[in-house]
């Protein structure tokens, strides 16, 4: 069965975290996922634009949805914030009386129309529901055996539960199950479903860094060798800001943080270099040594 998607990588995968884009391309190839990139699609609003104008946010997203409808494909993204923003917009358009007409009045001038049938999914859910954990397990060439991996879900892929609908936000398991299928051992810690702090890095830096630092510290204390996240915005705080977060909470951290496609790629036997593992600010060198020693 071929899996084909209108691919929405999101700005971070093409900006500050190019290793995410690159690793997803490799993993999709291995798993037989056909990604047709939506090259003309605009930003989802990322939760930020909603602080200014909801109609604008809904119209941005309706434009993207109309492009996917034209292709006749469901949308796949590798960014939790994008999947959350798109699903929230989709729900608002569906549930607010008159909203679909309202966005279509704007789109009509641009020669576009949204029919109201967008389907939006995230790579994590595709692994779970379309590929299936059994097949994923069969594809593993280099099991992550012996690695203790802390799943960091972040907010947008979990809440609001009614709109996201895959995990119980209080006790999410999807990422844990993927880690287990790849041969790793998921680490249980309370911070896994909490906020990384990234959205207020500029507004309230101390709070933002403390949030990130506390979750990383908790994972380290529970014996994590590494952390994995389906959200590149979380990654920007967990990895890029980790040294400053360590200073903020007054203790060393040094926990490598991988994007979900990178972790899957490693287990599928793709070498670390093309997966862009050397691009993280927290070095993965020690981790890779440990992983190969355990092989």
């Amino acid at each position: 069965m071929s899996l084909r998607y209108a691919y929405y990588p999101g700005c971070v995968a093409k900006g500050n975290c190019p290793e995410l884009y690159q690793s997803m391309a490799l993993v999709a190839g291995r798993l037989g996922i056909d990604l047709v990139e939506l090259k003309k699609a605009p930003c989802t609003g990322a939760g930020v634009a909603a602080s200014q104008d909801l109609l604008l946010v809904d119209t941005y997203n309706a434009l993207t949805f109309s492009m996917a409808e034209e292709m006749g494909l469901p949308i796949l993204t590798i960014c939790s914030t994008c999947v959350g923003s798109m699903r929230q917009a989709e729900a608002r358009i569906k549930e607010t009386p008159g909203r679909l007409d309202q966005v279509n009045r704007v789109l009509r001038d641009q020669g576009r129309r949204y029919g109201g049938s967008a389907q939006i999914t995230h790579f994590l859910w595709v692994l779970l529901r379309e590929i299936g954990l059994e097949r994923l397990q069969r594809e593993v060439r280099r099991p992550l055996a012996g690695l203790r991996i802390a799943p960091f879900y972040g907010c947008y892929i979990l809440r609001p539960a009614g709109i996201m609908g895959v995990d119980d936000p209080d006790h999410p398991t999807s990422l844990d199950r993927v880690i287990r299928a790849l041969g790793g051992e998921p680490v249980e810690y309370t911070g896994k479903s909490r906020c990384c702090g990234f959205p207020i890095l500029l507004e309230n830096e101390a709070a933002s860094l403390a949030m990130t630092g506390n979750h990383l510290a908790e994972a380290v204390d529970r014996g994590a060798d590494l952390m994995v996240t389906p959200c590149p915005l979380c990654h920007m705080n967990l990895d890029l800001q980790q040294s400053r977060a360590a200073r903020q909470i007054g203790r060393p951290l040094d926990l490598p943080v991988l994007h979900l496609p990178q972790l899957v790629g490693l287990a599928l036997g793709i070498p670390p270099k093309p997966l862009g593992l050397s691009r993280h600010l927290v070095s993965v060198r020690g981790l890779l040594k440990r992983a190969t020693r355990r092989e």
Binding site: C11, V12, K14, G15, N16, C17, P18, K39, K40, A41, P42, C43, A46, V48, A49, A50, S51, Q52, D53, L55, L56, T59, Y60, L63, R105, V106, D109, Q110, R112, C155, Y156, R159, P160, A161, D168, P169, D170, H171, T190, R194, C195, G197, P199, I200, L202, E203, N204, E205, A206, A207, S208, M211, N214, L240, Q241, R244, S278, R279, H280, L281
Partner: protein, 317 residues
Amino acid sequence: MDDAIFQIYRYDPDGDRAPRYDRFRVPLRRGMTVLEVLLHLHQWVDGSLAFRLSCRSAVCGSCAMRINGRHTLACMTQVSEVLKTAPIVIVEPLENLPLLKDLVVDMGTFWSKMDAVKPWQDPTAPSPEGERLQSPMELDRIERESTCIHCGACVSSCTVLEVDPRFLAPAALAKAKRHACDSRAESAGTPWDVLNGPGGIWDCTRCMECVHACPKDVRPMEAILELRREALASLSGGETVGGRHVRFFVESVTRDGVLDERALPLQILRGQWLRLFGLIRTGIRMWWRGKVTLGPHHPVREVETMRRIVASVKEQR
């Protein structure tokens, strides 16, 4: 029905050296709530167990606590529902508020933050001749927040409050919105300087924990976003760091279809050299690792369409 195992947080700061969890086996009746179990234990097993309650029907907001990690009301949580996903029931007090005893927390800061947003109409304003009328649509705008029962579940779930006690937190901010957006409130005393200041509306991470926790579906985070839209549209919010962040974001997306990530912090923190220095250092490390390049920012995509959409949305207003 079977018995259920309850594990309940116990701590009396006046006598106990450290908190502990007590385990109880409780005979279940059909339809039994967590609150009814607590009442049973209090009456028949351990009279020293402390918790708050009043109405027992999700109206008074007294019995908020954490039940298997969920910030919610004990009176509206069926034991059988909890046991569908867990072998035992763990009951703990609310977080982010000081503990008094067992499951009872001090709501003092909850109420003082409520006071800080001045949730009332300005009494010095002249009285109208007749009634202050309100259309159903105008009521709709504030109805959700009006149903808050002040239970504290959202405050307990708040991720920002956990690390910054100054944060006004979801309940007080939702209350602020209820008054600021009341059509009869031409004289509402909404303190925009407080809402735009440290610990105010721009410190929310939009994590949606409060939306998830609220037993009355008040959706406090949505109220916070509505306050931000008000602050940006008509008031002083535009010159806060948060306001600049939002405005730059929307401008950038309008201009290029996609956010210019590198320019964003430089624009928002302009003049704050010390903070910029920290971010620039991270930027240099990113460049060194090959994460960012120095080339120009690439606009996507249907840029002209985006510009026209923005213009068209403005026209619709």
